[in-house]
Amino acid sequence: MTATTVTARDERVATRSRAALFLSRPEVGALIGAIAIAILFLAVAPAFRKVENIGTILYGSSTIGLMAVTVALLMIGGEFDLSAGVGVTTSGLTAALTAWNFGLNVWVGVLIALIVSLAIGAFNGWLLHITGLPSFLVTLGTFFVLQGVNLAVTRIVTGGVTSNDITDMSGWTSAQHVFAASFTIGKVELNITIFYWILLTIIGGFLLLRTRVGNWIFAVGGDSSAARAVGVPVVATKIGLFMAVGFSCWLTGMHMLFNYNNVQSGQGVGNEFIYIIAAVIGGCLLTGGYGSVVGASIGALIFGMTQLGITYAGWNPDWFKTFLGVMLLLATLVNMYVKKKADAR
């Protein structure tokens, strides 16, 4: 007996099943990967199974996830930001150095850091628009500029490579509560960054899929001239996305400052690629116009699980980056395969 499909209007296109619809979502590949990695480490690393360590794993994921969410939005909008890694350091340094140098309340430094981070984002977007260069080049430029500024300004102000101690300045304690507090729920100790990460994922996901701005982000990444032709404010959308990355840099930078009490002027280099890897594992296309915020957060979770899983399993942590590279390739291939299968159904 042959099954006949009931066709609604066009006999060439059968309605897709719910399973196929689910599989065609961009974050499916990452979800499968996350489950596989969780199973792997649950099997080989006894410490991974301890409930207490959930907080540590989630914390590692959250410091990447805070950035990955906005980096993913930017990538869906068709652009890269290579200055995101050092941008975090710049933000932390700005807060610490301005507060210390001018003897300000720490909160004033925090506010100035926010303004500087958003301005760097806006500058990246504006430069992209004015020059018409690819964002890869523009932000590669700002990456080097910021890296130099971080080192040079810190040296001028402090004479060293570390920001001065500001823990005794007014506003420190309250700021530390906001940016680096931790809570204990049951046996699990959770850092506040985990809540920010989840909150940012929810806001980002809602923004992308349920608001007109989200529609514009998909459109400017998918075909910016088509988007402009139907009246989408392309330049404003892109500048806004760069500024969103700036906001993430600020939030992460503040956490780094208030968690470790100071900021090293040379840190952050190379992290921009980890954010991009998280976004790509989460289903973002390098060419833009497609991807998922939730996927990027799952990508960050994969990063956190792998980083700690390797340590818990007693493997040599030198292999971590190699593992990450293999993960990136596998995730991309799985994403491509799943998408093809789902589209063909």
Binding site: R9, T15, R210, R212, N215, A226, R228, A229
Partner: protein, 306 residues
Amino acid sequence: MSTATAERTGSHTTSDEALLELDNIGKSYGNVHALRGVNIHVRQGEVTCVLGDNGAGKSTLIKIIAGLHDYTEGTMKINGIVRRFGSPRAAQAAGIATVYQDLALAPLMSVWRNFFLGNEIRRGLGLDIEKMKQICDAELTKMGIAIPDLDRPVGGLSGGQRQCIAIARAIYFGARVIILDEPTAALGVKQSGVVLKYIVAARDAGLGVIFITHNPHHAFLVGNHFIILKLGRVVLDAHRDELTLDQLTAEMAGGQELEELSHELRGVDVDKVVDVKQGERVHVVAPSLDQEELSEVRSEEAEEEK
């Protein structure tokens, strides 16, 4: 002929006043004149066809009307008021919608997201997805386009379907003038037929349609008024009843030009079929041009670069 004219003016009493009026419009990029002295009057319920070869200035013309470029000479009037558009959004607000050749649709986005791109319906903070899908489905069904899954990315649909979605979208969002940039260029016969039907449907709905094409046959099937551009100038501006398809085709091909071309190719034996033996190497000898011919070609190229 006179009855046709009478019917035209009679059926649309308001149509004497053009929706869109271009007077002596021109555009130059530095010292290059891409467009010079173009006059077009687009009336309600009429299809104005703009024909021309590649590089004739069709795209420049569209971009001026669509608000992507400003004009440097002449005036553009919408409903009798002189306007300059700073952006495509301003043109849209004035009721001018453009359906581009390369389709103003983002390929990876779903049908309904594309349909409402730039005109999203909101409810509270978010989008009213249910309502948008409903309207999108209703509008597409109304135009006879069958797309069972509105969540499907537009990139997977056929060229004809995509054109129709773009046209349906423009009509739904209250366009009064709709510009179609080579809508049939990449389509097969059946699909072209469907798109031409939508052009007629848009005309019947009372829109002013500007149909840009290089196919005089397609133009003559639906057009009321014909304008041929060549090297940025209008070389023909005629109403339907002043013209036959043959004339249009000849004008489009540049009747006079064709004669020149056959003159250029004199001495070419058209009937000749060359037999090549198996294994023999084929040599193509570059055609030799005398000095006079060479200088003519060069001056033509120089003219075209302007």
